[in-house]
């Protein structure tokens, strides 16, 4: 990650042996300032999360304390209520989110990688208009299609079903996958495929056995981005579900419709919605940057 560019501010190792001068003092104070800004950025990023985490362990009385309390007697009641409370179906919502995210991601990455390869490597007729259209659907605001989609899903009896959501998410996600993978396929050396074909493999066989495994990092990045997006999405799931297929994010949003918001439960729901994503982000760390950059810049 780190390049060997000549640094405008020398690192501490270079500093240590020189005598104390105004010059050096200036450099040290600049270093300090930089650290301070970095620290600020980190604090601003995480304090809101810490606050909602704390809130999720608070009783209603503690939530409405003023000034707000950082130290209090924690309780697990909010989690108990959202998972096992009456009229609360977070267990079902969690299951729905997991199933819909998993299935849509898998199908869209599979179909998207086929289309993307065809677009990047094969003599597909109408390649240019099609790739424009793919980009266009990727940019399409969900809200612009919601009315007709709502009508179509209702007519197909897919309203409030997991299958309906999976179909919609798969379609919305395929363009993203195509776009992210195109660069990876275009960069893959043609010679390697030709070698396999000389050895008797068909073009499709070469794609399956040689190209696809070699672009595994790209596939993984596409899958991660897709899964994050589907898990986090609200509008589609909100419009096309009611009770049975409702997702975690939709259920969390419903707290706002009630009189007197139950912040403890909101906190618990937020933590449950965010936790899988965070754990996953930490697991794959710097990897994300590469996939994102490769996908967005190579185009």
């Amino acid at each position: 990650m780190q390049s060997q560019v000549v640094r405008p501010f020398p690192k501490s190792a270079q500093l240590s042996r020189r005598p104390i001068t105004i010059e050096r003092l200036k450099k040290v104070s600049i270093r300090l300032l930089l650290w301070l800004i970095a620290l600020m950025a980190i604090l601003v990023s995480i304090i809101p999360f810490i606050w909602i985490l704390l809130t999720s362990f608070k009783t209603p009385t503690d939530v409405f304390q003023y000034p707000p309390r950082w130290i209090f007697q924690p309780t697990l009641d909010n989690y108990r209520v959202i998972f096992f409370g009456k009229g609360m179906n977070f267990s079902l919502a969690f299951e729905n989110s997991a199933v819909v995210t998993g299935a849509s991601t898998a199908i869209s990455v599979a179909l998207g990688s086929l289309a993307s390869y065809s677009l990047a490597r094969l003599p597909l007729p109408g390649k240019r208009p099609f790739s424009y259209f793919v980009l266009f659907t990727r940019m399409l605001p969900t809200i612009a299609l919601m009315i007709p989609l709502y009508i179509l899903l209702t007519q197909a009896r897919l309203f409030d079903t997991r299958l309906g959501l999976i179909i919609v998410y798969t379609a919305f996600n395929i363009p993203l996958v195509i776009w992210l993978l195109r660069g990876f396929f275009a960069d893959f050396p043609l010679e390697l495929e030709e070698c396999a074909m000389i050895d008797g493999a068909s073009r499709f066989g070469a794609f399956l056995r040689i190209t696809l495994p070699a672009t595994a990092p790209g596939l993984a990045a596409a899958a991660v981005f897709s899964a994050f997006w589907i898990w986090n999405d609200f509008i589609l799931a909100f419009l096309f579900t009611q009770d049975k297929a409702v997702t975690l994010i939709v259920l969390a949003s419903r707290f706002m419709e009630e009189e007197g918001v139950k912040w403890g439960q909101v906190g618990a729901a937020s933590v449950i919605a965010v936790l899988p994503i965070f754990l996953f982000s930490i697991l794959i760390q710097g990897y994300l940057t590469h996939g994102l950059l490769a996908g967005s810049i190579k185009g």
Binding site: S3, P8, P67, P123, P141, L145
Partner: protein
């Protein structure tokens, strides 16, 4: 393989490759047809009628372009366009400046690189709905943390999501969530810069600011372009955090275009009019996509 052999083989392969190419995109096309093209066609047809969900489809009449004409005169639509444009302009420019500064700082700071970066990008990984929920609690005038801190330092405790302030609070929330995207891309851009210009500048005795403004930032221009276009497109369609924070209020102060369409469609049941509003958005997005593609081609 000899070149001439390859060309013979290629021409033989060409026909079967063509068939394979179509077979490979076919499943994706089926999905796109069903979920994009068909609804878009239905929506276009509806936008030319006065269809209203409460009166039903039988009462709908063809009214030509009247919905589109109405959109251009409707003060609520014009207001929502204004809100969306200013929301996008404010947040994207703030994110760009702030994100670049943070990225430049993080690039200099040594140690804990991965930990710092992972922490910093958490807001952008979070669902906008959850971001809205978190910030609605933080902005709360009575028991919110922000007002508690303000009171601590002797400042007044404003009603953040109320009249006059709601727009800026909503913008700040968006900036909090999406500045990490800029940081991430600028950091990646910084790590892939060539070394030679910086070495030359160091030899010439250039100051940090000189090399920043004359070398670093110009070299990052393509990255900035990508960020600008991406963020603009996503800010133009952002509705989820606003939905939770203000639902477009107070008095339409934060009523962005997407929320306006939603309200016309699902609160007033003006399906025909909402479809026309959707198509205006679709056309604008198509133009934007075209420009985006052009800019990318020029940039690389």
């Amino acid at each position: 393989m000899a070149p001439h052999l390859r060309s013979i083989r290629c021409s033989l392969m060409h026909r079967s490759d063509r068939r394979l190419s179509i077979l490979m995109v076919a499943p994706a096309i089926v999905f796109i047809l069903a979920v994009f093209i068909l609804p878009m066609a239905v929506s276009l047809q509806q936008s030319l009628t006065n269809l209203n969900m409460t009166t039903g489809e039988s009462a709908a009449k063809f009214i030509g372009l009247k919905n589109y004409v109405k959109a251009l005169r409707d003060p609520e639509t014009l207001n929502s366009i204004w809100v969306t444009v200013s929301y996008t302009a404010v947040t994207v420019s703030a994110e760009l400046v702030l994100g670049t500064v943070v990225a430049l700082v993080l690039d200099e700071v040594i140690g804990f690189q991965r930990l710092v970066r992972t922490t910093i990008i958490l807001p952008m990984m979070t669902s906008s709905i959850v971001v809205g929920l978190i910030w609605r609690l933080l902005w709360n005038a009575d028991y919110g943390v922000i007002n508690a801190i303000l009171q601590e330092v002797g400042l007044p405790r404003p009603f953040w999501l109320g009249p006059g302030l709601a727009f800026s609070s909503v913008c700040l929330t968006e900036i909090w969530q999406n500045t990490p995207f800029v940081v991430l891309l600028v950091l990646a851009g910084l790590s892939s810069l060539p070394e030679e210009p910086f070495e030359a500048a160091a030899v010439e005795g250039a100051s940090y600011l000189q090399s920043l403004f004359y070398i670093t930032l110009p070299l990052l221009a393509p990255v900035f372009l990508v960020i600008l276009l991406f963020r603009t497109m996503f800010a133009l369609r952002a509705i989820e955090a606003i939905w939770i924070l203000t639902s477009g209020g107070p008095a339409n102060e934060t009523m962005v275009y997407g929320l306006h369409i939603y309200r016309e469609a699902f609160a007033y049941f003006n399906t025909g009019y909402a479809s026309a509003l959707s198509w205006i958005l679709l056309v604008m997005m198509a133009i934007f996509t075209f420009l985006y593609n052009r800019a990318l081609q020029l940039g690389t």
